[in-house]
Symmetry: C2
Subunit: 402 residues, 2 copies
Amino acid sequence: MLIVQKYGGTSVGSLERIENVAKRVAKARKEGNDLVVVVSAMSGETNKLIEYAKHFSKTPSKREMDMLLSSGERVTASLLAIALHEMGVDAVALTGRQAGIRTDNTHTYARIESIDTTAIRRELEQGKVVIVAGFQGINEHGEVTTLGRGGSDLSAVALAGALHADACEIYSDVDGVYTTDPRIEPKAKKLDYISYDEMLELSSLGAKVLQNRSVELAKKMGVKIIAKSSFSDGPGTIIAEEDEEMMEEVVVSGIALDKNQARVSLRDVADRPGIAAEIFNRLAEEEINVDMIIQNASREGTTNLGFTVPQSELERAKKAIAGFDHEFGSADYDENVCKVSIVGVGMKSHSGIAAKAFTAMAQSNINIEMISTSEIKVSMIIDEKYGELAVRVLHETYELDK
Amino acid sequence: MLIVQKYGGTSVGSLERIENVAKRVAKARKEGNDLVVVVSAMSGETNKLIEYAKHFSKTPSKREMDMLLSSGERVTASLLAIALHEMGVDAVALTGRQAGIRTDNTHTYARIESIDTTAIRRELEQGKVVIVAGFQGINEHGEVTTLGRGGSDLSAVALAGALHADACEIYSDVDGVYTTDPRIEPKAKKLDYISYDEMLELSSLGAKVLQNRSVELAKKMGVKIIAKSSFSDGPGTIIAEEDEEMMEEVVVSGIALDKNQARVSLRDVADRPGIAAEIFNRLAEEEINVDMIIQNASREGTTNLGFTVPQSELERAKKAIAGFDHEFGSADYDENVCKVSIVGVGMKSHSGIAAKAFTAMAQSNINIEMISTSEIKVSMIIDEKYGELAVRVLHETYELDK
């Protein structure tokens, strides 16, 4: 098997941990696998370098930031190679450039455009474990670029795709994706399997495991991801295309909670074409991140428009909306709300899932302020103080602890 | 003027010091100069990375060491560029590869083979200060190489040569080359000027300023070096080809002391061809660094052979010589000697310089155990405890404090 493994900053956060990773890699190699190992910078390193840059400038040049930040992964990659050599494992460390990772020119948030796998394949054919400095590539001018937060995951997924690897194992300090946050519901269970789409919808649950950009890329390239812990030996969670059988079995996969939500409700909005576009364009100009948006007709000629923003952006949102006050009757804000979501591909083929949620909430006397649904998700905006309770209630309702 | 500046690890040893360097660069730029600035890693960084590698292996792979160690200079280069941007100075940071520095394949001790200055010239033409990560290049396979200790100086000198720069300013924490070590002789004076050859002979004095490899390269390429302090504004010391006028004026430029010397004297060595070669080949095989070698005929058919080695290598030298004990009468060792040297290109055309030294030593009751001379140097092996005294006596003899 050809396996791409990726070890995050916490997994390589000290020399002892790098040694631990080397042992894992050596074991997988001994089992006969061909291995490409992508590594992040040692945890704390990247932030330290960012601090250094901020000492000089609030807006450091992105081109230079990329040269600066790409150094951390090179350190880890070469140290891991040295550790493997000492264990008698033939290994070679490659920079993003040497690994053939070509990106566009968007410094600090580059997109991978292509991967020339020639060098990696040559090293693999010579029986070497290929270690790749994650998070980085070069652009057409030969300049170093970085891929933004979670960039090493992207490197790993893209390499797995380009190499047609059998699996892409993403190691972190958590042992997989859970049905909900175990700090809220101790009965939360690790999922053996989750589809790309569910993972995307559960991003608040999965963020510690894998960011959306990487899940999207994996979905696009058909890369099977296995999210594992580098500190234990569990099987992890497989993130892959939805599976017919699984779909039939599991209706709801997980419950997500996002506490960083503020609600804006505009009542009696003039129901003329383009008004929503104007409002949301204005918010976008102000760089306010709008999450949920719902609209429903109320009285004749007017509509109600609701949306949520991060709590820290509510005041700016209020100001942006003030410019439209002649367009709506009244505005209502609630800073203390949260979003609780039920996610599952099984919903598509099962009716009554949403109703079951609403019933459970009613039975617990939790008032639902807003509802939004997609094919595989039901999201509810509720009073922030009921967030954890709602998660536990729903977790039990869908028997996720079973 | 096109000036190459090089700032060593101490000069960029903290964020404040990098800021200080940025101010110097900005000033030189404002004065209308075109600038290429070569930087080392922040002091301590390279040693930290070596420690990291040693944690995993006593003999880490040199290829991986190069990827590891080359990261420190990239950090400094990008930080300096960011600091300059903030001061309104257009600047761009380049890695060794981007600066066009091509080396041979000798990892950790590579030799610069060629420099393609296209990229640097393009950036200079756009009015940018070009900052280059020192100490590094790439080989023909595109792999990162480093140039060994003092490598950033080599980068600077080679770039100055390739760019036909008007000067190569080497900044460190000392403000130039002195007539002798000021810790030994407080009256030591900074030299305004010294020739390449004198600098090479005074390496023990100049080592903190510039290593021999860089002086040799500068001599070969005709690069005028100015050794300066990054912490003060003095004119520094110019290191260049010897100058006719200067030569007439200054007879002795400096006094050097090397306390790490042990003496080996072999008496009545069989005077047959090849015996010296055999002995020194054997020492070379044992990787013993022989410094001074003198031989003079004594009785008929035999000769006396003397040489010095670093004190820590004396025991190994004794063992290596033991194999030849049938070839000489007796061996005499002295672990507690030092080498004091008088250096000056003026010696070539002035007679009696050596005699003056011997007289001064005799007047101070310092016994000379061995003498060796070259065109521009007189070296004497004396009892270690008289080393500092000898330096002061000679410094006064040649009126170097005037």
